[in-house]
């Protein structure tokens, strides 16, 4: 089913995503005691980067050039599956969340091989770490979606959001709470936030995602940055759709609620980033296993409840 009027959700995602990054950066700045850049700074950054020319290393091949493009395109298509409040998603069918996860996986794959393509061990290290953590993140994501499908008895992301109402929260609140916690952890790791990765640093010890994109420049870099911001939007929307129950009576007001929720989420992430430090790499895997056990617990509880 294709709903054309949901193009608004796609457009709003593309417009508002950089804004969220600005909010996070501004929150961190204010909590550090600085004024910080304006919340619209990411837009200017993107504009500036797109103006520049790309520089390619002699050791790279066509993979290096196409990696970012494919990454961006997969994220864009993934946006098609997200509903926005009242509006259904553009594409909606049973099992679409599997396609969503695999699209993200595809994008990640091309980013990784583009990083490996540079032949630098620096990027290779970042790529291997990224894949290691993505392994856990994808398992948690799958387990959470399966739990949600068990609870709502549908297999489409948009419909899950639609059906998750107040009633369901009251009945199965505990399971949903566990799912939200697990998904929040996934949100943090997929978007390379502290406590898993520091998006601002360029030191070898602390980089995971940043180090992968070290060699890109010009419009490709712009595409990658923009795609990362869209990923924040995607995961934030998935999380919000579960955490904030959907009330069909309110209509268009839902969109406003969603926007407010995203900004709130960005504020929370900013606070967390300012307050915690990055975990040691060994601890990250333990933390992720903890999140995995929480999602498995949610799944077993949902199974046991039938």
């Amino acid at each position: 089913m294709i709903h054309w009027y949901s193009i608004f959700s796609l457009v709003s995602a593309m417009i508002c995503a950089p804004f969220l990054k600005g909010v996070i950066a501004r929150t961190k700045a204010i909590l550090s005691g600085r004024m910080g850049a304006s919340v619209f700074q990411p837009y200017f950054d993107l504009w500036r980067i797109f103006q520049k020319k790309s520089v390619y290393s002699k050791t790279t091949s066509w993979i290096f050039k196409t990696g970012p493009v494919i990454y961006f395109v997969t994220i864009l298509i993934a946006l098609f599956f997200l509903p926005l409040g009242n509006l259904p998603a553009i594409l909606q069918f049973q099992g679409d969340f599997i396609v969503l996860i695999y699209l993200l996986g595809l994008g990640r794959f091309f980013m990784v091989i583009a990083a490996l393509d540079t032949g630098s061990s620096f990027e290779g290290m970042g790529a291997s770490r990224e894949v290691f953590f993505a392994f856990f993140a994808e398992i948690i994501l799958f387990l959470c979606f399966i739990t949600l499908s068990l609870l709502t008895k549908v297999l489409s992301l948009a419909e899950i959001h639609f059906i998750l109402s107040d009633g369901l929260w009251l009945n199965t609140g505990v399971v949903l709470f566990l799912v939200v916690v697990a998904l929040f952890v996934v949100f943090l790791i997929e978007n390379s936030r502290i406590p898993f990765d520091d998006p601002n640093t360029h030191l070898e010890l602390t980089m995971i995602h940043e180090v992968m994109i070290l060699d890109h420049s010009g419009p490709e870099l712009g595409l990658i940055l923009y795609a990362s911001q869209l990923k924040v939007w995607i995961f934030g929307l998935i999380l919000l759709g579960i955490a904030v129950p959907f009330d069909p009576q309110v209509g268009v007001f839902n969109v406003v609620v969603v926007m407010a929720g995203m900004i709130l989420l960005s504020l929370i992430v900013g606070v967390i980033e300012s307050v915690t430090a990055r975990l040691k790499l060994f601890k990250i895997s333990q933390f992720l296993i903890g999140a995995m056990t929480i999602s498995m617990l949610a799944l077993i509880l949902a199974l046991g409840g039938r």
Binding site: S285, I289, I300, G304, G305
Partner: protein
């Protein structure tokens, strides 16, 4: 009110998971204390004839004993034995956490075979009970420090308490008090024994107690 029970049981399950993957003994003792405290709420929630003085007294006794006195005894034993962390056990911490999830699945599966028990209060009661009992046994078998074995024993007794709640409407007060008294003496004795062991063997690593064989 049934949902409050669900929250309690899920908290107990999460508690058990954290116990399985934690290596710091003080943290483990605090986790067991927390478990005891949330379990002391169960008689109040399940009070059939309203919250009488009887029920309140019992809940208070459980709270004080399991939440305050047992942890104090254990922390004192910890201090005199001068022990801080668990050594890497037979089954590593990460594997224990994953094994914990398997055990959880197992307890749910076993409980599904006994759905004819009419007195089960909530569908989560029996699985939580079995899970807690199995985690307690696991801690006793697989941990090397004597105090972790005592913590495992406490978890086992908590699990049996939930088991009693699952199967019986009400256990007579005399028996409950007797059981609590016994656990108190048990923890007391085990604490003293740990102290003696630490003085005599200069370690509380139970693996070192291996001269008697055959």
């Amino acid at each position: 009110m049934v949902h409050l029970l669900e929250v309690i049981f899920v908290l107990v399950m999460l508690n058990n998971q954290m116990l399985l993957s934690s290596s710091r003994l003080v943290y483990c003792i605090k986790l067991v204390a927390f478990q005891g405290v949330i379990l002391s709420l169960i008689p109040i929630i399940l009070a059939h004839q309203g919250i009488t003085l009887h029920v309140l007294c019992f809940a208070t006794i459980v709270f004080v004993l399991k939440g305050i006195i047992f942890p104090k005894l254990l922390l004192r034993a910890l201090r005199v034995a001068d022990v801080k962390r668990e050594v890497e056990p037979i089954i590593g911490f990460t594997s224990s956490a994953l094994l914990g999830i398997l055990i959880l699945g197992l307890s749910f599966w076993i409980s599904s075979k006994y759905t004819n028990i009419e007195t089960a209060i909530n569908f989560l009661t029996l699985p939580t009970a079995l899970y807690t009992i199995l985690v307690g046994l696991f801690l006793i078998i697989c941990r090397k420090k004597a105090l972790m074995q005592v913590v495992g024993y406490l978890v086992l007794e908590n699990g049996i308490y939930i088991f009693g709640v699952a199967l019986l409407k009400e256990i007579p007060l005399l028996i409950e008090i007797g059981v609590l008294l016994d656990i108190f003496v048990a923890i007391f004795v085990m604490g003293i024994a740990t102290y003696h062991i630490s003085q005599e063997f200069e370690t509380t690593d139970v693996d070192q107690l291996n001269t008697l064989r055959g």
